[in-house]
């Protein structure tokens, strides 16, 4: 099986908001896929230049808390600095996450997500790796 099928994301049905199923072989790829899926839902287009780098550090109770905090941090940078990212290097410890994120200014955005929620959030182990479903408030 190639890498593409081992990690990815897809939008799933939700009445009022947006939900995204994300899967990956490991936690750090899961975080990257979740970020890319979130931007895809919003219709984010990143300008090719200038390239921008940000260091993101968050703390949390567990992996789910780190994931929500990380994505909410991206939403904060999106709204306050009009920045989005396409490359992530994640270092995950028990209660902390450090990410080197590279990207650029947002050229276009269809619809902003208000927040990433904890609704029924659980990172599950599957035969292929890890999987989770995120619900976003729009």
């Amino acid at each position: 099986m190639n890498e593409k099928s081992l990690s990815g994301f897809e939008e799933i049905r939700h009445t009022a908001d947006w939900a995204l199923r994300v899967w990956a072989p490991d936690l750090s790829t899961l975080f990257t896929q979740a970020a890319q899926g979130m931007y895809r839902l919003e219709g984010v287009e990143i300008a090719p230049t200038p390239r921008v780098e940000r260091q993101i550090s968050v703390n949390g109770e567990d992996a789910e808390s780190l994931l929500v905090a990380f994505l909410n941090e991206l939403l904060y940078l999106q709204e306050t600095e009009r920045l989005a990212f396409d490359t992530f290097q994640c270092v995950i410890k028990d209660h902390s996450l450090d990410v080197k994120a590279q990207g650029g200014p947002i050229n276009h955005l269809n619809k902003a997500i208000k927040a990433v929620t904890f609704h029924n959030l659980s990172i599950r182990t599957t035969s292929q790796g890890l999987e989770t479903t995120l619900t976003f408030d729009v």
Binding site: R13, A16, G43, E61, Y76, E79, N110, K114, H119
Partner: protein, 483 residues
């Protein structure tokens, strides 16, 4: 999954899921629905979410859901839960990210016939004066000190700057200012988001709507509100923007550790909470009130901008172009209120998420002219259908924690709406029906299409049938401005 046979019928408009349905429930769930709406609600997770809400520590029987309910995240949209102040919890997720999302109604003396030739100009002017869209910044760029004042003063901040009238404030829930708001409990991030967004509409399901007052059902109440059949009115639907979203985000994250500290077990982490009488609970309530005050001020500034648009378009063309305030009310809020429970007054924190306070006649919290009638309730519909003005009743105090519905309620997912509906075609269809549309994005317009929502008239007939609100007036949209 809850099934129809698990739900007990009380009457044609009221149903119940008993507290015995699931072991962890601390209260029953009371549903204000017709059989048809009930069957529709079984198609998503709204009732499961209401059952989950009934497990919150200190919740008082019953948890209530309205006919416009739909699946949310953690707590259903259209839900009401009251928790005891003495030993209950407050849950940010049960109030929502858009703290004090709400509605303001302004009415005019402008007859529709006289206004009709200028409605397209009016839509353009409103779109220009009232900034909308994703991450929009407004004309008010506040220093951190000014933002702290907005948090403490709410709509009074606008009054001090000549951007509001005493009547505007008097006819706003809580006078447009909740006490005990504390900006020191708000994060730097929230303040950064809030500083530039005051006086903006935002995107999503938020909108400005010019309406024709099509039909009056309660002449006495309509007269007190200054609503006259055939005249124009303006509805503003928005909330606390990124400021409120960030406050909720911060506290949902922070309280993840509080539930462990207080040994609270929850069926869904989005229902995260803390005892009302705890440092964590008090901090959240103080920050939530700051966001609520921001939202009251935001709608006030939008009302001021809308008045400028009306003046620009109608001055010299009609005799009186003034927009007077009918009411401003929240539908995402947590309020400390005293309700009669088993005949005795009990202090509770009423979480309303997608539900409107609907106090009956006689409450001192209401403006003098509305006190004998009950609290005005503003129910925005979906584009191209109708919006409603209702009034609270004694029954709503007895049956639904002084609450009623807040809108039409979604039935179609945003994903499906975008797939099935073309924004451009929808705009053309609305224009053909005499509704002037200004929208920031065509895909955003498609997501909010009338087909994506329940029939607002059916929702209103249900709450009226149940007696938890009374009909005052039906409004028909003639111009819509969306972000």
């Amino acid at each position: 999954m809850v099934r129809l046979q698990d739900i007990r019928k009380i009457n044609d408009y009221e149903w119940e899921i008993p507290a015995t349905y699931r072991e962890d429930m601390r209260a029953s769930v009371r549903l204000f629905v017709t059989r048809r709406l009930l069957e529709a609600s079984l198609e998503d997770l709204s009732l499961e979410q209401a059952i989950n809400a009934a497990t919150l520590p200190g919740v008082v029987d019953p948890v209530v859901v309205m006919p416009d309910m739909h699946q949310g995240y953690g707590f259903p949209i259209g839900g009401v839960a009251a928790t005891r102040v003495s030993d209950g919890v407050v849950s940010p997720g049960a109030i929502g990210y858009d703290i004090n999302c709400g509605v303001r109604l302004l009415a005019s003396q402008i007859p529709y016939e006289q206004a009709e030739p200028y409605l397209d100009d009016l839509a353009t002017a409103l779109n220009r004066y009232c900034p909308s869209g994703v991450g929009t910044e407004g004309e008010y760029r506040l220093s951190h000190e000014e933002l702290d004042q907005v948090c403490r003063l709410g709509a009074r901040w606008a009054l001090k700057r000549g951007l509001a009238s005493e009547e505007d404030l008097r006819r706003t829930e809580e006078g447009g200012c909740l006490e005990d708001a504390d900006p020191t409990r708000v994060s730097h991030k929230a303040k950064e988001r809030g500083r530039t967004q005051l006086g903006t509409l935002g995107a999503g399901n938020h909108f400005l709507e010019v309406d024709l007052i099509e039909q009056i059902f309660d002449p006495e109440a309509a007269q007190a509100m200054g609503l006259q059949e055939g005249n124009l009115a303006l509805l503003i639907h928005c909330g606390s923007r990124g400021f409120g979203h960030q406050i909720c985000t911060d506290y949902v994250q922070d309280l993840q550790s509080a539930v462990k500290k207080y040994g609270i077990r929850l069926p869904d982490r989005e229902l995260v909470c803390a005892p009302i009488d705890s440092p964590e609970g008090r901090n959240y309530l103080a920050a939530m009130r700051a966001a609520a005050n921001y939202a009251f001020c935001n709608r006030q500034l939008l009302a001021h901008a809308a008045r400028r648009a009306f003046e620009e378009v109608f001055a010299g063309k009609v005799r009186n172009w003034h927009l007077h305030q009918v009411y401003d009310i929240a539908h995402n809020m947590g309020k400390i209120e005293t309700h009669l429970v088993n005949g005795k007054p009990l202090k509770v924190c009423v979480h309303r998420k997608g539900a409107t306070r609907a106090f009956g006649p006689g409450f001192t919290e209401l403006p003098e002219e509305y006190r004998p009638l009950g609290q005005p309730v503003l129910v925005p519909g979906s584009m191209g259908t109708a919006s409603w003005v209702l009034i609270g009743t004694e029954t709503s105090m007895q049956r639904s924690w002084g609450s009623t519905c807040h809108g039409a309620g979604r039935v179609l997912s945003r994903h499906k709406a975008k797939k099935e509906i073309r924004g451009e075609r929808l705009r053309d269809e609305l224009e053909r029906r005499g509704i002037h549309v200004r929208a920031g994005s065509m895909s955003g317009l498609a997501e909010e299409a009338p087909q994506a929502y329940k029939d607002v008239d059916e929702v209103v007939e249900t709450v009226a049938g149940a007696g938890i609100a009374r009909k005052v007036a039906r409004l028909r949209p003639v111009a819509v401005i969306k972000g």
